[in-house]
């Protein structure tokens, strides 16, 4: 039987020290990802949970045209924030279309960024071949049942999806993550925070062991911009995205002058559709532009039979959200 220790960190300093001193210790925030993996599925084996849930890292502050969200703010709290409602509506939409009310009241923003993939092969300890769990062991999903898997940033080593909804508008908005460890703080753009699987599917981001996410900074939408988040799925609620898209656009006299596009349900990391944005900016806001942007966004997908339909679905999802936010 594996015993897992539990400590509640009294303050930030001891939280950092408690994790840093033990290579197998992990932070525990809302626990909605971590407890499933460690206790129910038993696919991760931490030596101890360092509960950061009561650290004073909660709340949203506005700093000019940026929002600074403390990492332990819950998904529900962020969705209810008035600035988010008015100036980042697609962040609110993405939050409220995620999980369930009960989960959103537990789940934190820091934890949402760091949630692990839903790949069932990853989450079932009886499956031997999973490069993310056991580097070099292979990937059972590629030849298996893969529907809720990625087509962008994916490759023969791993096709696991980063399933966050929230991260889609966040990468689109160039959010930044503030990190803290004994050596001090650093700030990393969210678009550079994640790593595609490559030859190390087990390494998902640039976070060092013991480093704490303290805040997420999100620039507000520029005046006049409109945004929207579209989540496509079979079940009306309480399901991860099959595909999703978060778009923010400014249109002047029928021409797109500013555009941001993030994609969900398709990437091994929260996907920023840079190429699509270049197609959009300067182009007329019409169906042809939208379709061209969609084509540019989904280039060179890596598909398996179960995910092949996502190529066209993702494009249509993009077209639909662009149509919606510009209409």
């Amino acid at each position: 039987m594996s015993d897992i220790g539990y400590v509640r960190a009294a303050d930030q300093g001891s939280a950092l020290a408690l994790v840093a001193e033990d290579p197998d210790a992990v932070f525990l925030a809302g626990g909605t990802t971590e407890l499933d993996l460690a206790l129910k599925d038993q696919v991760v084996h931490p030596s101890r949970f360092v509960d950061i849930g009561r650290l004073p890292l909660r709340g949203v502050t506005r700093d000019g045209d940026r929002l600074r969200v403390a990492a332990l703010t819950t998904m529900e709290e962020l969705a209810a924030d008035p600035t988010v409602r008015d100036r980042l509506p697609f962040v609110r939409e993405a939050l409220l279309l995620g999980a369930s009310t009960q989960l959103r009241n537990m789940a934190t923003i820091g934890g949402n960024l760091l949630q692990r993939t839903r790949c069932r092969y990853f989450r079932d300890p009886e499956v031997g071949a999973c490069n993310k769990r056991e580097p070099g062991s292979g990937c059972a999903a590629i030849k298996g049942v893969a529907r809720m898997h990625a087509i962008l940033g994916a490759g023969p080593t791993c096709i696991a999806l980063h399933a966050s909804d929230l991260c889609v508008p966040l990468v689109a908005m160039d959010a930044e993550v503030e990190l803290l460890d004994a050596d001090g703080t650093r700030t990393v753009p969210l678009t550079q925070f994640y790593r595609t699987p490559g030859d190390r599917p087990d390494v998902e981001n640039v976070l060092r062991h013991g480093e704490l996410v303290t805040h997420v900074q999100v620039p507000l939408l520029p005046a006049g911009a409109r945004s929207g988040y579209l989540k496509v799925r079979d079940r009306t609620s309480y399901e991860f995205a099959t595909t999703s898209a978060g778009a923010a656009i400014t249109v002047e006299d029928g021409t797109i002058t500013w555009a941001r596009l993030g994609l969900g349900g398709v990437g091994t990391v929260p996907w920023r559709a840079w190429e699509a944005e270049s197609v959009l900016v300067g182009a007329p806001a019409n169906e042809r532009t939208f379709r061209a942007a969609a084509e540019a966004a989904i280039r060179d997908p890596f598909t398996v039979p179960g995910t092949a339909f996502k190529v066209e679905l993702a494009k249509r999802t993009i077209v639909r959200i662009l149509r919606t936010v510009t209409s």
Partner: protein
């Protein structure tokens, strides 16, 4: 009968469940709530391959682990006797019989320890090696052993090939349905204890009387020394109808240790341990004249079955009785696959058959231009099409007509793709349903006492459908007392044997048995010279009797063989409106009208709940639910509620549910079972609505968005 017996209008009243308060207060003991003194805990060892043989088992590390009391595998466990046949057919291969592996997740051993955590941890320490074989997982796999006509249900009337050749219009469609998991909320549990030579088992079963027989045979103890208890069951939908290996293994462990042993399945284990609706493929060929009158119906079905299993679960059984058609042929096959054992899931067979037939009829309506409702009325079976006898009751016509009216069918533009609403194409579809009559013998013990109370006892259980409540209502009405004065003791095989809660057969059989008992009681009371208007309480009092008890019995199926009417099951019609976002493939049900003829309804509220449950499950079947097997390992690849999708509230529109019809003339209480009928016509109505919305006929369930792109 004394004049006071019989009270009007208790049966049918929408009273709250008499066990409802206990349930919401957490005071109703479900199997997992039972803990016995000295009890220890079990965990299962499951195969991690789908086919082959076990070549080596090393238990030593597990046996040495903390708290472990025993580890039983095929090479060290005491031998058991094979389980017997029962009214639901043969049970599966007994567990631990040999070294063969027939499916992934097969229970190949059991570990018992002082705590559940210790047992679970030790189960992982058992080292097993396999000689693995390539599993056969797909209905279409040419290696699959296929049996022809396994249930003897193939049938033929008239000359189908000739009628098809001569038909003005023909339809030929192939319909596939993915495997589905019953997914009851309550985790299946066994708590087994041997008390001397007597076995007491708390088990999640819908068939306590059958389980008792099976355990008595397997463990070679007299039936009267086996007691199965299941007073409350957290849902079954058919999952509790078979004998499952975890029950046997837990009972075996308790015997070996001579201590009570408890096992609670995990949610992932539920997906491969308690059966599922088998994947199936059906071909329906229809022949008709230009007015849509059926001249030929050919129905061919193949469904999956476990290796070494022979579950009697025919699909085509209902077909010959659905519509008036002179030429009907049915064919059935089953393919043995390395999949977890299949089981019964709500309206097994009937719901698959109706998806195919009712979809094909919609295609016929399309081709002939006859309105789909009118088409069904034109082919209405006024008498039982096989026997020619009049139905004991049949209000399918009312189901169709009332449904059409409530839904507003008359205003429907028959052309596909004719209605838009924003990004959605809107479509309306309908389907009818005929359910088979089914009943097994049932016995009850009915006692009345001088305080005016009655007690009904039977082994059958309440799987959440309302058996407690309707038993009390029926008894109260027949005895002329209040529902509050009826005590219902069920789910205990020390009580008289009863059929399983399944096949929509318990309510009717039980009601008839109670009526039989009430009649017997009335006779006995009459012999006590009751005065007009005298209550049985006062009568007993006058005679110094504490209690009067009688046994009641029903055998409706037996009576059916020499009846001059054809006993009918329930009938239904469903009308669905869907919105299809064609660009994104998403299908949502906007409206659903369900009209049911269940004969005399014993409780309007619990009956309605059954119809709601059936409709929700039908939405799941139509749009969401499919068990996926990993094509390489045969492992259930979506065995969690995060991955196997059942409908959530937002998937379910307001449901319009109506009951129509008259008391059945065959069942003495007028009732027909209605636990399953509510699902039967839902999936075809939705698929037909999808066709009306988009012009696209999806013959493959569930209709997930990728199929619509």
């Amino acid at each position: 009968m004394t004049a006071t017996l019989a009270k009007e209008n208790v049966i049918g009243r929408p009273i709250d469940r008499i066990d409802g308060r206990r349930k919401v207060a957490g005071a109703a003991p479900y199997p997992s709530d039972f803990d016995l003194p000295g009890q220890v805990h079990a965990a299962l060892i499951s195969s991690t391959v789908a086919a082959g043989r076990i070549t080596r088992i090393d238990r030593s590390r597990a046996e040495a682990a903390p708290g472990v009391l025993t580890v039983l595998t095929h090479d060290n466990a005491p031998a058991l006797v094979d389980p017997p046949q029962n009214a639901l057919g043969s049970t599966m291969r007994r567990p631990l019989r040999d070294d063969r592996i027939l499916h992934y997740g097969q229970h190949i051993g059991i570990v018992v320890a002082n705590t559940r955590a210790e047992a679970l941890a030790a189960a992982k320490l058992v080292e097993i090696e396999y000689a693995e074989e390539d599993p056969v997982l797909d209905l279409d796999d040419p290696r699959a052993a296929v049996e022809d006509n396994p249930f003897g249900m193939a049938s033929s009337r008239g000359d189908v090939p000739a009628a098809l050749a001569a038909a003005d219009v023909t339809v030929d469609g192939t319909y596939t349905i993915g495997a589905e998991a019953n997914s009851p909320m309550g985790l299946f549990t066994t708590v087994a204890s041997w008390q001397g030579g007597r076995l007491v088992v708390h088990d999640t079963t819908q068939a306590p009387s059958f389980l008792r027989i099976a355990l008595s045979v397997m463990f070679e103890v007299p039936e009267e020394n086996v007691r199965v208890l299941i007073p409350f069951l957290g849902g079954g939908f058919g999952a509790g109808l078979r004998l499952w290996s975890h029950t046997v293994l837990t009972t075996l462990a308790a015997r070996v240790l001579d201590r009570p042993v408890k096992l609670v399945l995990s949610r992932p284990q539920m997906f491969h341990s308690v059966g599922h609706r088998a994947a199936s493929r059906q071909r329906v060929q229809l022949g008709a004249d230009r007015d849509g009158r059926l001249t030929a119906l050919d129905h061919d079905a193949i469904a999956a079955n476990g290796m070494g299993d022979n579950l009697p679960s025919p699909i085509v059984a209902v077909t010959p009785a659905t519509y008036a058609c002179a030429n009907v042929a049915t064919h059935e096959r089953r393919a043995h696959l390395n999949i977890p054992y299949t089981g019964f899931m709500r309206a097994p067979g009937a719901v698959e058959a109706h998806f195919a037939i009712e979809s094909a009829l919609d295609e016929l309506a399309d081709q002939t231009g006859v309105d789909p409702v009118e088409l069904r009325l034109r082919n209405y079976a006024e008498v039982h099409p096989e026997s020619g006898k009049p139905w004991s009751s049949k209000a399918l016509r009312e189901c169709l007509e009332v449904g059409a009216q409530r839904f507003g069918w008359a205003g429907r533009d028959p052309a596909p793709r004719s209605t838009h609403d924003g990004d959605q194409l809107v479509g309306q579809g309908m389907a009818g349903a005929s359910f088979e009559f089914y009943a097994l013998p049932c016995t009850v013990r009915l006692a009345v006492d001088r305080r005016g109370n009655a007690t009904v006892r039977t082994a059958g259980t309440d799987i959440g459908t309302g058996t407690y409540t309707i038993t009390a209502q029926i008894t109260a009405e027949l005895l002329g007392i209040d529902v509050e004065n009826v005590r219902v003791v069920i789910g205990d095989t020390d009580q008289p044997p009863a059929p399983q809660s399944g096949g929509s057969g318990l309510a009717g059989a039980l009601a008839a048995a109670i009526q039989n008992a009430a009649g017997e009681l009335a006779e006995q009371l009459a012999r006590l010279d009751g005065r007009p208007g005298e209550s049985f309480a006062s009568l007993l009092d006058r005679h110094g009797l504490d209690e009067l008890a009688v046994t009641g019995y029903s055998d409706l199926a037996g009576a059916a063989t020499h009846s001059d009417v054809a006993p009918a099951g329930a009938f239904a019609a469903a009308y669905a409106e869907v919105g299809v976002d064609e660009e994104l493939g998403v299908v949502r049900v906007r409206r659903l009208v369900s009209v049911i003829d269940g004969g005399r309804v014993f409780n309007a509220k619990t009956a309605r709940s059954q119809a709601i449950g059936g409709a929700v499950m039908g939405i799941g079947m139509a749009l969401l639910e499919e068990l996926a097997y990993d094509p390489n390992s045969g492992r259930v690849a979506n065995g969690t509620f995060g991955d196997y999708l059942v409908p959530v509230n937002l998937d379910v529109p307001d449901l319009d549910i109506t009951f129509v019809g008259e008391p059945d003339t065959f069942n003495p209480t007028g009732g027909k079972g209605l636990g399953e009928i509510g699902i039967v016509s839902i999936a075809p109505a939705i698929a037909n609505a999808v066709h009306h919305a988009t012009g696209r006929r999806i013959r493959d369930l569930p209709i997930t968005l990728d199929k619509m792109l």
